[in-house]
Structure formats: structure tokens, C-alpha cells
């Protein structure tokens, strides 16, 4: 049984890749970009590891148009992610897109066999670390150094589409929790919205409530 450390999932995200996509945010990142909007998913944490086969069932059953792998660093768990994609594709031929803080060239030159297999199973890849000083409103990307690679011809039609921000997907759940998905167009967005709306992460809130 192959395990994948998963931080979060969402079955229908419209701002991280073409169409409505199932998104898997993996837990753990060895790069640690300054100003990362998801620092809570940087530490390696095996407490929420999930069986790849079960997760693949869920994805194949609920995804509309494709699968996006984000994190955390997907290529830090390339074997498991590649296995997940293979398992999904056994069930459905979904479009697969992934983020990585590595560059495509680095992965191709120095990547592990697992990272190569992972690259070989992707349709789209956003590569490169997030650089706060190059923050920009780009399609599916946060800083200008990051690139969108069309690794297959599945989404060739999107090559010349306008390169501007896909926006944010903000959700208020029934339990009154709030979350947002996507790549902010401006730097410091997370801090700004947390201060403005008085948001605290649910984990922190629950701990305080429990005290």
C-alpha cells in the first residue's frame, strides 16, 4: 500500500487549472519559499497520510475535468504522486496538472526516477519557486518567474489564452469556517485578509477554544 502525506483536498476548484478540478495539497515541502501563502503545509507530517488507492477512488469518482497536485511540494513525494496519478488514470483519463518549486530543467537533469515518472504523467506543470518580489497577477501562478508548461497536447488550445489571474475561490462552510483557494494576485494577501476579517486558522481557534 502506497501512502501519500496529504494536507488538504478539494473536489471542485475552478482557479487552479482549466475547468473544475479535484485538488490535492500534499503535506511537506523541502524548498520553503519566503512569503509562501501556505506555510502550514511546509513541514513534513505523516499524521494525515492517505492510501493512494483510496484517494484515487475518491478523485475518479468526484473530479469533473481534471486533477491538480499542489502543496507542499508534490515532487518531494514523487513516487506516491506518480502512483496516485497512475491509479486515477486506471479509472478515468483525467487531465493532470502539478505545481513544483523546482524548475523543469532541474527535474529533468537531476530528478529521481520517481520524479521522471511523475513528469511523464503530467499534462500541465507550473514550475519554479515563489518569489514575492516578482508577485504578479498571472494565470494559475503567483510570481513572474514561474512558468506554465504544456507537457502534452491535451490543453494545447490554452497556450495562447490570456495570461491573467484566474482569481480566488472563497468558500464559507456550513460550520462557519472560511477558506480561499487559488493564487493571490498581490503579495501579502493572506496576512491582509486575516487581519481585515479577523481570521484565525481553525486549528488555532480550536486549540484556544479548548483552553
Amino acid at each position: 500500500m502506497t501512502l501519500l502525506d496529504v494536507a488538504e483536498t478539494h473536489p471542485a476548484c475552478t482557479v487552479l487549472g482549466p475547468g473544475s478540478r479535484y485538488v490535492v495539497w500534499v503535506q511537506g515541502c523541502g524548498i520553503g519559499c519566503a512569503g509562501c501563502v501556505s506555510p502550514q503545509w511546509i513541514p513534513v507530517d505523516h499524521s494525515r497520510a492517505r492510501d493512494v488507492a483510496g484517494l484515487a477512488d475518491d478523485i475518479a469518482g468526484r473530479a469533473a475535468d481534471g486533477l491538480t497536485i499542489s502543496g507542499g511540494e508534490p515532487f518531494a513525494q514523487a513516487d506516491a504522486v506518480a502512483a496516485l496519478i497512475a491509479a486515477v488514470r486506471e479509472r478515468r483519463d483525467l487531465s493532470v496538472m502539478s505545481y513544483t518549486g523546482y524548475t523543469l530543467e532541474h527535474l529533468r537533469a537531476h530528478g529521481s526516477p520517481g520524479q521522471h515518472r511523475l513528469l511523464g504523467s503530467l499534462d500541465l506543470l507550473v514550475d519554479g519557486p515563489y518569489l514575492a518580489h516578482r508577485q504578479a497577477a498571472l494565470r494559475w501562478r503567483g510570481s513572474a518567474n514561474q512558468r506554465l508548461h504544456f507537457l502534452t497536447g491535451r490543453h494545447a488550445g490554452l497556450r495562447d489564452a490570456p495570461d491573467h489571474s484566474a482569481g480566488l475561490q472563497i468558500e464559507v462552510a456550513a460550520d462557519e469556517t472560511v477558506r480561499w483557494l487559488g493564487v493571490p494576485a498581490v503579495a501579502g494577501f493572506r496576512q491582509w485578509i486575516e487581519d481585515r476579517l479577523g481570521l484565525v486558522p481553525s486549528d488555532t481557534f480550536q486549540r484556544e477554544q479548548n483552553r
Binding site: C29, Q40, P201
Partner: protein
């Protein structure tokens, strides 16, 4: 990299909490108001239902009171008063419990109607049964045998209708009136028919009996007349047999048989009467003629033997006379042709002459002289004797002129008509 963790809102949480509390307070207030309205509506529904129920019971009370009144029984005024008070309490009740408490009175009142209803039913049953028995008694005034004789169908119909009325009177007295009235009507019509037919029958029977008695008495008188005249009554046995049949029919009340037999019987009696009258007339005539002959015989030298007079069943009369020299003379008067009286004469001398075969004309001449003398005498008495004929072939003979047994008075003899 591309998403946030889940957040809880802090700064707006207090506002939202207060808003939520206010919303909750408003919801609770609305709920209380709705509950109050619901309770009020429920109270009103309960009140309407209880009043409707009380009204229904009140209608039943009123209906039962009317039935009781018709039956001559008193209604339950206490129950009616209780029910009216309960309706007031229901109208003014502040909650459903009070409505329910007052509403139970309606149930109690309704239960109390059961006893009154049973008394009314029992009374109605008694009345219905009494009416049926009155009709039955009316029917029984005439014996069943009489009714069945004169109107069998009506008798059976009345029995069936009364039995039906009895069943209804016992089980459903309220529905028995129609049956009783039907039975009463049928009984009236049946008795009318029976009485009318019986009266008609009695009249016919009486008429038949009286007609039969008239014939009977006529015949009895004829018989007495015949007996007195010592003549037979024609067809007496046949008339007697028919008369016995008629008497039997009269005793049996069979007027039809009586009236059917009377015309023929009357005709026979009429005929017998006519025949008897003819007999009697001839008997009288013969007696007078005989008296005339008797008075003429002494002139002819004969002494009448009055002890020898006989009268036969057929009305013929015979007499003997004797002369001083011992000669016997006999005369027979009988029916001749055309109801005329025929007179036969004979003497011993003539018999003896006939036996010896000689002196016929002389003997006949002697007899003829006697007859002539008698004829003269009878002519003076108003009788016209006929021509003397000589007939030796006649079987009928006057009584023997002497006492010789079985002596047959034969030729010569004289006859006048």
C-alpha cells in the same frame, strides 16, 4: 502555495454572535408568538369542536324529548340544563383544559339519554304491541272457520300481516305503525267481505230453505189429500226421494243444491198435484155414480151389499148386490178412455150361461134390462150412460158376484162408457 487553511472569523465573530443571539431571540420570540397563536387557534378549534359536539347532543336531546312527549313521557330537563350550562362554559373557557372539562358534560348528557331512550322504546313497543293485538282481536271477532269459508285469501293475508306487525312491534316499534295500519286496513276489508258474503249466503240459504219448505208442505198436503181420498199420489216415491235430497241439502246449508233441485221438484209436485186432482175428481164422480147405481139397484130387484164395497189403489170401485131369488150382481167402476168412468156389470146367471154356451142373448138381455134400469136411474141423477158394449176380452173384472174363490167373471158382461 495555492490555498489557505480553514479559518474561523474572530473580529466578526462577536458581532455575528450578538447578531445570532438577537436572531435567536427574535426566532424564539416568533416561536413563542407562533406557539401562542397556535395555542389560541387550538383553543378555538377545541372550542368549536366542543360546541359542535354539544350542539349535536343538544339536537339529540331535543329529538328524544319530542319522542318522549309523543310517547307521553317526560323529557330529561336536568340534562338539558346541564348541557346549556356546559355550552356557556365552553364559550367562556380560557384554555383547552377548561374546554375539555366542560365538553365532558356533553358526553355525560348523551349517556343519560340512553335510559330515556330505552324507556321510550319500551313504551313505544308496548303501544305498538297493543295496537297490533287490538287489530288481532278485531279479526278474532269472527271465527277463523267462518272467515276462511267466505274469504280464504283475505284470512291468510290478515294472518300474515298481523304476524309481520307483531315482529316489527317487538323489534322496531318505531317502524311498526305502517305495518299495523296495513294489517288493520286488510282486516277491515276482510271482515267486510266476510260479513257481506255471509249475509248473502244466509239470505240465499233462507230463501232456499223457505222455498224447499213450501214445496215440502205442498207435497205433504197432496199426500194427505190423496190419503183422504184413498187414491194413490202420482210419482210419490220419486218426489219423496228428491225431497229427501233437498232436505239434506237444506240441513247442510247448501243453498245452491237446494235451489238447483227445486225447479224440477216443483214441476213434479205440480204434475202430481194435477194428476191427484184428476184422480180425486174421478173418485168423487164414481162415488156419485155408484150412489146412483146403488139407488137404482133396488128397482131392479137387487139389494146392495154395502159391506162389499171396495176401492182399489188405482181408484176403481166395486160393489155387489143380490136379488131376492139369490141372483148376484156385481158392478165395477174404473178409468176408461179419455178419463171417462167405465162401468162393468156382471151376474152369476150370465156366467153360468157363458159356461154352458147357450142362451147368450137372453142372459144378455136380462143384464141389459138391469143396465137399462140403472141407466135410467143414473140419468135421473145427472149421469149420461154410454152405449152398452159387449167385451169378453177385458182382463179387468168386477169382484166376483158370489163367494166362489178364483171364479173368474167372464163373458157375457156389459159395459157402459
Amino acid at each position: 502555495m495555492s490555498g489557505s487553511p480553514k479559518y474561523h472569523t474572530v473580529s466578526s465573530g462577536e458581532i455575528r454572535r450578538r447578531q445570532a443571539e438577537e436572531a435567536r431571540r427574535r426566532r424564539e420570540e416568533q416561536r413563542r408568538e407562533k406557539e401562542r397563536q397556535r395555542q389560541a387557534a387550538a383553543l378555538e378549534r377545541a372550542r368549536e369542536a366542543a360546541l359542535a359536539r354539544a350542539d349535536e347532543v343538544a339536537r339529540r336531546v331535543a329529538a328524544v324529548r319530542q319522542e318522549a312527549s309523543r310517547a307521553g313521557l317526560a323529557g330529561d330537563h336536568v340534562a338539558e340544563n346541564r348541557l346549556e350550562r356546559a355550552r356557556e362554559e365552553i364559550r367562556s373557557a380560557a384554555d383547552r383544559a377548561a374546554v375539555g372539562a366542560a365538553a365532558t358534560v356533553a358526553e355525560q348528557v348523551e349517556r343519560s339519554l340512553v335510559d330515556l331512550r330505552q324507556r321510550i322504546d319500551a313504551h313505544q313497543r308496548e303501544q305498538a304491541q297493543a295496537r297490533v293485538e287490538a287489530v288481532a282481536a278485531q279479526l278474532a271477532e269472527l271465527p277463523a272457520g267462518v272467515r276462511e269459508r267466505y274469504d280464504r285469501g283475505g284470512a291468510e293475508e290478515c294472518d300474515e300481516l298481523i304476524a309481520t306487525a307483531r315482529r316489527y312491534a317487538g323489534k322496531a316499534p318505531a317502524k311498526s305503525d305502517v305495518r299495523v295500519e296495513t294489517a288493520a286496513q286488510a282486516v277491515r276489508e276482510h271482515l267486510d267481505r266476510v260479513l257481506a258474503r255471509r249475509a248473502e249466503d244466509v239470505a240465499r240459504t233462507t230463501a232456499a230453505r223457505e222455498a224447499a219448505e213450501e214445496v215440502y208442505h205442498r207435497f205433504a198436503e197432496l199426500r194427505a189429500d190423496a190419503e183422504q181420498a184413498r187414491v194413490p199420489l202420482p210419482d210419490e216415491d220419486g218426489i219423496n226421494a228428491r225431497l229427501r235430497d233437498v232436505v239434506t241439502a237444506v240441513q247442510q246449508g247448501d243453498a245452491a243444491r237446494v235451489l238447483g233441485a227445486l225447479p224440477e221438484l216443483t214441476r213434479l209436485v205440480d204434475r202430481a198435484e194435477a194428476a191427484l186432482d184428476g184422480h180425486i175428481d174421478r173418485v168423487i164422480e164414481r162415488r156419485e155414480l155408484l150412489n146412483s147405481i146403488i139407488s137404482a139397484l133396488p128397482e131392479a130387484g137387487f139389494t146392495v151389499d154395502r159391506e162389499s164395497f171396495t176401492q182399489r189403489e188405482d181408484g176403481a170401485m166395486a160393489l155387489r148386490a143380490g136379488s131376492a131369488d139369490g141372483q148376484q150382481f156385481a158392478v165395477l167402476l174404473r178409468d176408461g178412455a179419455d178419463n171417462a168412468t167405465e162401468v162393468l156389470y156382471t151376474t152369476d146367471t150370465m156366467q153360468e150361461a157363458a159356461v154352458t154356451g147357450d142362451g147368450k142373448a137372453g142372459e144378455c138381455g136380462s143384464l141389459l134390462s138391469v143396465i137399462d134400469r140403472i141407466g135410467e136411474q143414473t140419468r135421473r141423477q145427472g149421469f149420461e150412460p154410454g152405449t152398452v158394449r159387449w167385451d169378453d176380452d177385458d182382463d179387468d173384472q168386477p169382484p166376483p158376484a158370489h163367494s166362489v174363490p178364483n171364479a173368474r167373471p167372464a163373458t157375457p158382461r156389459g159395459t157402459t162408457r
